[in-house]
């Protein structure tokens, strides 16, 4: 089975995000492979042990190369990097990635369930539609039997088990597996793995359908009234009083 893993480079979840003049400033921010994408990389390596026929695909700026190297160090065989500084809307991204899928002809494409920068859940579904494929979103279990996939995924009010034929797009999340850490020898090997470079205009996309007008960090000022819990009864009574009389929420 041939597998593509779409991956992204995003600010590290624990990193402080800064904004200036209505724009997020990632200069100097610690960046990392999106945690949601790691589940897809791990799953690909479990399906194709040793990483044969697994390809990382990344659409983003030059810094995405770190995420690509990380995915290669985890074990993927090679990578395609559609390098661009454009921040493209998801429909345009899907149109470009469709082009890559038609070149690479995988049976399966893994996409992270939600991106840690745009907070978007849309790319997997958009790519599936561009290809005319079926999708499973928020997947927590995945098995295969003679070209048929069985998947369990989370829904709004519980979960659902599905059976579908390949090719398909699968979006990944926690619970699917426990992603591995790259070993030192594999990090060294990853440096020599092939990264094919291309650009959005090769796929007819030159601008975004959506304009980012502004980005603001709106932090709510918090009261930070902390009570010492050495005397649990007194502390509990004080908290209840604050919530009832001051905050008026209970």
């Amino acid at each position: 089975m041939k597998i593509l893993c779409l991956i992204r480079q995003v600010p590290d979840a624990e990193a402080k995000v800064k904004a200036a003049n209505g724009k997020v400033d990632l200069e100097g921010a610690t960046m990392a492979l999106d945690g949601m994408d790691e589940y897809g990389v791990e799953q690909a390596l479990r399906i194709n042990e040793g990483g044969a026929n697994t390809v990382a695909v990344a659409l983003g700026n030059a810094r995405f190369e770190d995420a690509i190297r990380r995915a290669l160090a985890m074990g993927l065989e090679r990578a395609v990097h559609i390098e661009t500084d454009l921040l493209l809307d998801v429909v345009s991204q899907a149109q470009i990635l469709k082009g890559i899928v038609l070149e690479e002809t995988p049976d399966l494409v893994f996409v992270g369930g939600q991106h840690a920068d745009t907070d978007s859940q849309a790319l997997g579904a958009a790519l599936a539609e561009a290809l005319g494929w079926n999708q499973v979103t928020w997947t927590t279990e995945l098995t295969f039997d003679h070209g048929t996939a069985k998947a369990t995924h989370d829904t709004d009010d519980g979960k659902e088990s599905l059976e579908l034929s390949l090719p398909a797009v699968i979006t990944t999340q926690q619970g699917l597996n426990e992603p591995r850490y790259p070993t030192l020898p594999n990090i060294m090997k990853a440096k020599k793995k092939e990264i094919r470079k291309t650009s959005p205009d090769q796929y007819g996309i030159v601008n975004s359908k959506v304009k980012i007008v502004s980005q603001e960090i709106q932090e709510r000022a918090r009261l930070n009234k902390l009570i010492d819990g050495k005397d649990p009864v007194a502390a509990a009574e004080q908290l209840v009083k604050l919530l009832h009389e001051e905050a008026k929420v209970i």
Partner: protein, 313 residues
């Protein structure tokens, strides 16, 4: 014309009323769309909020692919310039497909919507809800999803809109549903509760969630859990709050034994009051807390339940 895709069971879901409310405030004609089994029965209710209602109960209306085809086809028939869909998990797996079919810009999970010349401007959260972004798109048709619990519900009109049965040309999607599990809770729905009590790994063991449930019962609150508590198998996924779970913004969010990882904060950071109980004074949750007790939750929670009971009596 705004095409509103409505979620329903035996009546319109709250999410549908919210999206209809957002559509009404944009001040344009509204076509409500009801797709799937049971749609006809809900049509009279939907007609109170729309100029017209399109109903289809085709048995093939199942799965994101066919739902998206149906919505895109009806959008073209109704000559919609805006397609609005709930930002529920289900809505967010259909909407991007609709946008691709219509070659339209897609604006996702809006918390505020505003019509602009030839298009739409929205606000939404980004960077794990740490950033509020304003986005706009100008195009013949725009597709947008609306974040649940951010919009006032629509107002019923005196004159109900017309209801039309529509036919769609669908083929089998190739996805077979093998089984469904619906998690039911006897408590108030997490996303609609005005108080939420959430437990994390700091509780130490699944049976200690009894402390969370007791306090929730006294306060009439919803019960939440962190990803760590869900991953450990202590609680069902439906209770999970955070990036991969539910987003809540209650009047009071009481986090017990919760460290406050950014993925968790992205699901509850907009709560009006945040209350934290944790023995580690350095826990990140205290940085975003309005009120808190630094101490051993096993001693504090029983005292807190008693104090809350006293208040309620």
């Amino acid at each position: 014309m705004i095409l509103v895709v409505c979620e329903f069971d035996t009546k319109l879901k709250k999410s549908a009323l919210e999206v209809l409310g957002a559509a009404q405030r944009l001040n344009d004609g509204i076509t409500a769309v009801l797709l799937g089994a049971g749609a006809s029965a809900v049509a009279p209710e939907a007609a109170l909020y729309a100029d017209q209602v399109l109903v289809c109960e085709d048995a093939l209306l199942e799965g994101a692919k066919n739902m998206a085809q149906a919505v895109a086809d009806l959008s073209e028939q109704a000559e919609a310039n805006l397609v609005l869909i709930s930002g529920s998990r289900g809505g967010r797996e259909v909407a991007p497909r609709v946008a691709v079919r219509l070659n339209a810009p897609y604006l996702e999970d809006a918390i505020a919507l505003e019509g602009i010349e030839g298009g739409l401007r929205i606000q939404h959260y980004a960077y794990l809800a740490r950033v509020t972004e304003t986005l706009e798109a100008v195009a013949p048709v725009v597709v947008a999803t609306v974040k649940p619990n951010t919009q006032a519900v629509g107002s019923p009109k005196a004159n109900a809109g017309d209801v039309y049965d529509v036919e769609l040309e669908l083929s089998p999607s190739g996805v077979k549903v093998l089984g469904r599990v619906v998690e039911k809770s006897s408590r108030v729905a997490l996303t609609e509760a005005s108080v939420v009590v959430t437990g994390g790994r700091g509780l130490g063991a699944p049976e200690n969630f009894a402390l969370i449930e007791s306090l929730a019962d006294v306060l009439g609150a919803g019960v939440g859990a962190t990803r760590a508590a869900v991953d450990a198998g202590w609680r069902p996924y439906g209770e999970q709050v955070g990036q991969t779970g539910k987003t809540v913004q209650p009047n009071a969010y009481i986090a017990v034994g919760v460290s406050g990882a950014v993925q968790h904060l992205s699901g509850m950071g907009k709560s009006k009051n945040i209350v934290a109980i944790n023995k580690d004074a350095e826990a990140p949750i205290f940085k975003v807390a309005d009120y808190g007790i630094v101490g051993d939750l096993h001693a504090i929670m029983p005292a807190l339940i008693e104090a809350a009971k006293k208040l309620k009596d």
